[in-house]
Amino acid sequence: MEFVKKSAPHLRRPNANVVRMMRDVAIALMPLTIFAIWQHGLNALWILLVSVVSMVATEYIYYQIIDRLNGETFKLNNKSFTVYNFSVVVSGLIYGLTLPDEIPLVVVAIGGAIGVFLAKLIFGGMGQNIFNIAAFARVFVVLAFGGVLVYSNHIDADLGATALGVLNQDMLDGSVRDGYSYWAMFSGIGLPGSLGETSALLILVGGLYLFMRKSFDVYVPLTYIGTVFVLSLAVMFTQDVGFWYPMTHLLSGGLIFGAIFMATDPITIPTNRPSRIYFAFGLGVITFVIRLFGNLPEGVVFAILIMNMFVPALDYHKWAKSKFTVKSVSIFSVIVIITVILTAVGVHYAG
């Protein structure tokens, strides 16, 4: 028996570890995965398998090579073995769920491998990446293969379904909802769109699970979705369109999916609560602006990548505080009000 000198504290929180947190996200994605396979058949199964396997394999091979270069002997379960912590599995699953159902598998594999390599591994692996891996891979697929492959499907393949496409052409066209009841848009049954993004209901179930397990920061999706909702409400009131307008913004496209599963990836968001709320607010504004004025019908993944770049600024030690102060709340409220007014005015002139 020996005395081992340690520094305080001598206890650690039970049931708190990275593996559990990442595994929780994977579990929260399960209803969506099953729904995607049920709705789209074997296609979906293959896409999800390929997206997960391509990411996991890339990371595994990368660390095998790194260990080899560092003079380790080959072992199946190598020194830098990282698959156990589920982080790459979760990235792969989220990436797969954002894809349209008739995308060629080779595109899925290339997107996954490039995504995990460029967005994660060369930055130094888990905890070091600047960009959300799934969003990066997804954007890579859109930009590299979008013109040839994704859009040629008979279902409008870009993240959002038809509704957003129509909205993007003519932002106040009430016909977007034709044929889809609120229930269809909420449950996702029979709705065209990406594998895992159509069913708001199941996404919210996953979110509820994550909330109860405290495995994500619930303020981020709340602020994100709330911002989009408030901005579309502003448009609704100034343009005199019906309540279908904000509801369409909420329920279509990847908003809820992105807000709950991608914008909450703790590695690529700020660490302070106020900064997280500013971050989510920025996400909402950029998403809404891209949806209304941009060339693409969908803005969620782009918004996430853009706001990822602002994380160091939001966390900067000169101004980032861990609690809201009177000053920060007042500045933030002024910014929110200005944004709402600017959006309403912008829609008036652009529409």
């Binding site: 028996m1 005395f3 000198k5 504290p9 570890n17 405290k214 495995s215 703790p266 609560r273």
Partner: protein, 432 residues
Amino acid sequence: MISKARKVADYKQLTKELPTLRYVDPERVYINLQSDRCQTYTLDVKENDRVQLGQIIGERDGGFFKQPIYATVSGTVEGTTKKTHPSGIEVECVIIRNDYKDEYHSTITDRPENVIENMTKAEMVDVIRQTATVGLGGSGFPSYIKLDTDKKIHTVVINAVECEPYLSSDYRLIKDSPEEIFRGLKYIMQAVDAKKGVIAVKKTKTELIEVLERELTRFENLNIEIAKLADYYPQGWENETFKNALGIKIPPGTLPMEYGVLGFNVSTTSAIYEALKHNLPITKRHLTVNGDAINFPQNIRVRVGTCVKDLIKLSDGYSEDAKDIDFVIGGPMMGTSLDTDDVIVTPTTTSVLVFKSQDFHEEPCVRCGSCVYSCPVEIQPVNIMNAIKRNDKKALENLEVNKCIECGLCAYVCTSKIHLTDYMRKGKKLLG
């Protein structure tokens, strides 16, 4: 996990209802001549001198204060030796062989209640100084300096929160002798002329509240309140206690006296009672022996100067299946780990904890923010860690690492099991 997490499992059920074992007659006691606050000393006795309980045998010098050294048993001086102080440093100790007679020195006399009632503040402070009463919550800060404040004090708070897990010595003290605490509080209120007294205790400790409330009926003429505080860590941190018991926020870097409040630990209160009532220095204290690598967790009433080795023997030794042990003096969140059990019990030793040594598997930081959400002083441990890694002193200043009280909560809650508290210490050192 990504949330404010301030509940720390308290493990007190292991010992809190156990009766207090008495172990007040060790064969030898070792009285430290130095301490972490006092480097130099004078020793007035030599080998084979006979000393009595409560006799002054020397004086420690802590720079801005001097502290008499007392014999805690009657017996013969056997010379000096080196022993480990609970703070981890090696100190010179005088050995006294116990003659088991407990002969009190002539200065140890009872003061009748009416004499105490007529004592002035200066007289009381003098008694506290003479008896070397210090803060027994662990700080070891001389109590007379606190009492001798020239600020107007309106409230005295007795801190009975004991928020560190595993410890139950204060708990046992209140259960065993609640009257001493009330009397101690009364004396303190008299000394600083405070109008109000508050005993702060966790609201989950219903047994204690019962005992205190029963005792309170005997002191109804005093304006004493029992504040029931929420059960989280670090509720026992003085500023947190004041905030929740009185609603007074004390900014870091300022002293509570400036806001008219004064806080004392329960054990200190009981020591102040002993000092004023019996003119007795601290010779005994309540101590908890606990942890998962000790065979019989116990509460022990122990003589100051006892060697901890004896107490381990009394608790049936270390458990056989413990390979390596983490031997801690003080609480598990803030206590010091030592590499030997040849330690002496000083007045401020609240507990001896023995844990099976665990190596926590550290993962890369996932920036979940739990440390930021949980920090009681509202700094950002994760960003401080990153600033230390890139040696950015400007950032450390802006992130106010010096506000850190080293409560250990950031490392406790960390999802990746990173030892953030160590980084905080490093950060303070970097700033100098």
